[in-house]
């Protein structure tokens, strides 16, 4: 069953890739399709891409690159606006409860919104208040260690062995209340080992602490540690993705090392509109984003930034339904781990 879906996914990605190129080459066709979908009275002013994290971060870079190519394919003016605070909480709540559903506000968000909605929104809003209009890209959480020092050349199995033999000696950088912590928790439960979880405010500071020798293992995305990887300072241990990543073929997944299937912790980035946005505007927004996402230059830019494309989501006929499957998986984890009743 697992092999089947993997093959299907591979096929889908091949097809998606095959489609992507000709469409982009026939730019005039895209333009015609977009012109047909364009509502009469929309847009009459710039469209705001709302990013709920600070300028300069991974999410912000993703949104700004997307904005650049959406402007290129559609000719519409896009403004990227960072509505920050509380690690995304404030921006998520703004999008779900305050933003006008008129098509001029598009949230460029990540699946971290589910955790906020399920665990921290206190029933004031739900992630169904945000309707997905397009998938952008994904990043997988990777465990990395220093290339010299105690963990030099150690595999994931070795690391877990150390955590069992000498519990609470290995220091792992985490971000509390998010996938950085959940992954460590899963590993501890499954392997019976114990780590020292050193809390940081984001993935980046944790990687800095690794390079400075203040923690033994950091968790992060390729874009965050690539500089140190190229300099030979850090090396990946394992990646929490469903399958090995195309841009890091030699890095094993947690699942294959541990013979499991639930060590999947990705950031999935997608675009949403507030619930109630008129269907024709939503369709147009979805179309211009899809057109931008088929531009090989943008795909290359995202690849260079370290992101990968989830074949199921990229080739999805109904992005909302497919994202919902992931959200349900996350909800199951929260229920199983007692965070959600």
């Amino acid at each position: 069953m697992k092999r089947m879906s993997l093959l299907a996914a591979l096929g889908a990605s091949l097809i998606a890739g095959a489609i992507a190129l000709p469409v982009a080459a026939q730019g005039t066709d895209t333009k015609a399709v977009l012109a047909k979908l364009k509502p009469k009275d929309f847009p009459s002013q710039p469209i705001e891409f709302t990013v709920v994290y600070p300028a300069g971060g991974g999410m912000d870079v993703t949104a700004r690159l997307l904005a650049k190519y959406v402007e290129k394919v559609s000719g519409e003016r896009i403004v990227v606006n960072n509505r920050t605070g509380g690690a995304g909480m404030v921006g998520h709540a703004y999008l779900a409860t305050q933003a006008k559903p008129d098509g001029y506000t598009v949230g460029i968000i990540a699946n971290l919104v589910w955790g906020d909605a399920m665990l921290r929104a206190q029933g004031k809003w739900s992630y169904t208040d945000l309707e997905p209009v397009g998938y952008i890209n994904s990043d997988a959480l990777t465990w990395i260690g220093q290339t010299d020092g105690a963990l030099k050349g150690r595999s994931l199995k070795d690391v877990l062995q150390i955590a069992r033999d000498k519990p609470s000696t290995l220091r792992v950088a985490i971000v509390p209340g998010s996938m950085w912590e959940y992954l460590v928790e899963q590993l501890e439960t499954a392997s019976g080992g114990k780590f020292l979880r050193v809390p940081f405010q984001g993935g980046g500071p944790g990687i800095t602490a690794l390079v400075g020798g203040n923690v033994d293992i950091a968790q992060g995305f390729l874009a965050e540690y690539r500089g140190h990887l190229e300099a030979g300072k850090v090396a990946p241990i394992a990646v929490a993705a469903g399958a090995r990543l195309v841009n890091q073929k030699d890095v094993a997944t947690f699942n294959e090392v541990l013979g499991a299937s639930d060590y999947v912790w990705n950031v999935i980035r997608f675009a949403v509109t507030p619930k109630g946005t008129p269907a024709d505007r939503k369709a147009y927004l979805g179309a211009i984003m899809k057109a931008a996402m088929q531009d090989p230059e943008l795909i290359e830019e995202y690849r260079k930034a370290g992101a990968f494309f989830d074949a199921t989501l990229a080739g999805s006929a109904s992005i909302a339904t497919d994202l919902d499957k992931y959200a349900t998986r996350e909800r199951d984890f929260y229920q199983k781990s007692g965070r959600l009743k």
Partner: protein, 494 residues
């Protein structure tokens, strides 16, 4: 000598009309956002970043960096002229800078601030040029225990800053700690003092606090005593710093440069901390500390040099390791990533053109800013003659937009208003508000780094004694604290 050859390459890259133009443009915009109350370098950089996508990476970086340090130049202007900090790193400049303006010496204060900024900026660049890789290697080892010790030292310095009643000052420091605790505890994700409000979950925005406490409350106090139709009733005495001003200022400028540079390099530091600590240092070592708060030139020279030097310092981990130490450098990193460049430890060897181009652009930018700011002194001083009733609604409006620009969250306006009213009342009752701000900035870092240190240490609190830098900083802090209590403590009013 590699460094000098590299710098020559850098100048070769930057000295083209196009690159110089963007450097000049950035300097101009930076001065402007510094002058505007509320709008800080972070908001301005976020707004202007898209403009740089069409430029070459070196032109874009030169422009964004020059906005960053340009804002440090401009920030002092508003502090000195209208007693409202142009950005958070200029809060302490208000204390003595505006007093100088009231005495008709705004020109001298502005001149010292501009020249101090120039010297500090250039000195920090020289240090960056010569020692960047070595300093970066030290900075990266700076972990939670070292950060904790640094924050303790900062807090002890804050004690030296208290003017007037010590008890009231201590109360303000404690209040700063409490206000900083509001929101999500970053160590374990627990909510504190949020009372089920999504807005409070995000914590209290520093910019809204600063603009409220210093901007709104200042306006309230001014409209109350409408006696003065303009800000400075006194005759304006001289536009330039005198020989005497220089005599008292050159040492604070040098000290501020060194302190700011070091605080810029380490993760927990930055321009805000640097300016506060420089002020505390100057006041501690002054022969007549009682002059502070009544127009001491050292109180302008030190902090204004320190915040500029901190910018140079904070570029070191960014350019040599690809590690951003604060929100502004994180944004610079992001703009490089959008250009398809991922700075890391190899940045200097792989892209020497870019590394040295940016460094060279900063030398050039500092010269631009000096040439720009000195003639502006005369114009700014004339601003003091504008009737206050025309000036204040505009300042108020700019404060509101500036506060909003930080997070684009209207809740921050309520925070600003609340702190404005509180600040007005507290000032009436002779409370010193600066310790509140610095404790509000330091408290989260102090708490987080202590708890991180204890989590990562198998030996508990011993980790603070095992790490030499940590232990050294803590000893210095202890000695400073002891010195403070050696002289008779002035509790209550004095």
């Amino acid at each position: 000598m590699d460094a000098l050859a590299g710098l020559a390459t850098g100048f070769g890259v930057i000295l083209t009309p196009g690159n110089l133009y963007y450097c000049l443009l950035g300097s101009l915009i930076g001065t402007l956002v510094g002058v505007l109350p509320g709008v800080g370098p972070l908001a301005a950089l976020a707004l202007l970043m898209p403009m740089t996508f069409v430029l070459t990476p070196v032109a874009g970086m030169a422009m964004l960096a020059s906005i960053f340090y340009g804002a440090m130049y401009g920030g002092s202007t508003t502090s000195i002229l209208v007693n409202i900090p142009g950005e958070a790193a200029s809060v302490v400049t208000c204390l003595d800078g505006h007093q100088l303006a009231r005495q008709g010496r705004a020109g001298a204060a502005l001149g010292i601030a501009a020249l101090g900024s120039f010297f500090a900026g250039t000195l920090s660049l020289i240090a960056l040029t010569l020692f960047a890789p070595a300093l970066a290697a030290v900075a990266i080892r700076f972990g939670p225990p070292e950060n904790f010790a640094l924050m303790v030292l900062g807090l002890v310095c804050t004690l030296y800053m208290i003017s007037g009643s010590t008890a009231k000052g201590v109360l303000m420091i404690a209040l700063g700690f409490l206000a900083a605790a509001v929101g999500i505890d970053v160590v374990n994700g627990k909510e504190r003092f949020t009372f089920d409000s999504i807005q409070l979950t995000a914590g209290i925005e520093l910019l809204a606090v600063v603009i409220g406490l210093f901007g709104v409350s200042e306006i309230l106090a001014n409209v109350e005593s409408q006696a003065r139709s303009t800000l400075v009733a006194n005759r304006i005495r001289g536009l330039w710093p005198t020989r005497e001003d220089w005599r008292v200022s050159w040492r604070p400028i040098l000290r501020g440069s060194g302190l700011g540079f070091l605080l810029g390099i380490v993760p927990g530091g930055g321009p805000v901390t640097a300016s506060f600590m420089s002020y505390a240092l100057e006041r501690r070592i002054a022969t007549q500390p009682e002059r502070f708060g009544h127009g001491a030139m050292e109180g302008v020279a030190g902090p204004e040099s320190a915040n500029n030097a901190a910018v140079g310092g904070s570029m070191i981990p960014l350019l040599s390791l690809g590690i951003p130490g604060n929100a502004v450098t994180a944004l610079l990193l992001g703009s490089l990533v959008i250009h398809g460049i991922q700075p890391g430890p190899l940045f200097m060897t792989q892209r020497p053109d870019l590394f040295w181009g940016v460094v060279a652009s900063m030398y050039v930018g500092n010269v631009f800013l000096l040439l720009l700011n000195l003639p502006l002194v005369g114009i700014w001083v004339q601003l003091l003659r504008v009737p206050y009733r025309i000036l204040f609604p505009l300042v108020l409006l700019l404060s509101v937009v500036g506060t909003y620009s930080a997070n684009k969250n209207l809740f921050d306006l309520w925070v600003m208003l609340g702190f404005g009213i509180a600040g007005y009342l507290l000032r009436k009752l002779e409370y010193d508000l600066a310790p509140f701000v610095i404790s509000f900035v330091l408290a989260p870092l102090l708490e987080q780094s202590l708890r991180q240190s204890l989590v990562m240490s198998p030996d508990g609190a011993l980790i603070l004694a095992q790490r030499p830098v940590t232990a050294g900083l803590l000893v210095v802090a202890l000695v400073l604290a002891a010195l403070m209590f050696r002289r008779p403590v002035r509790l209550g009013d004095n």
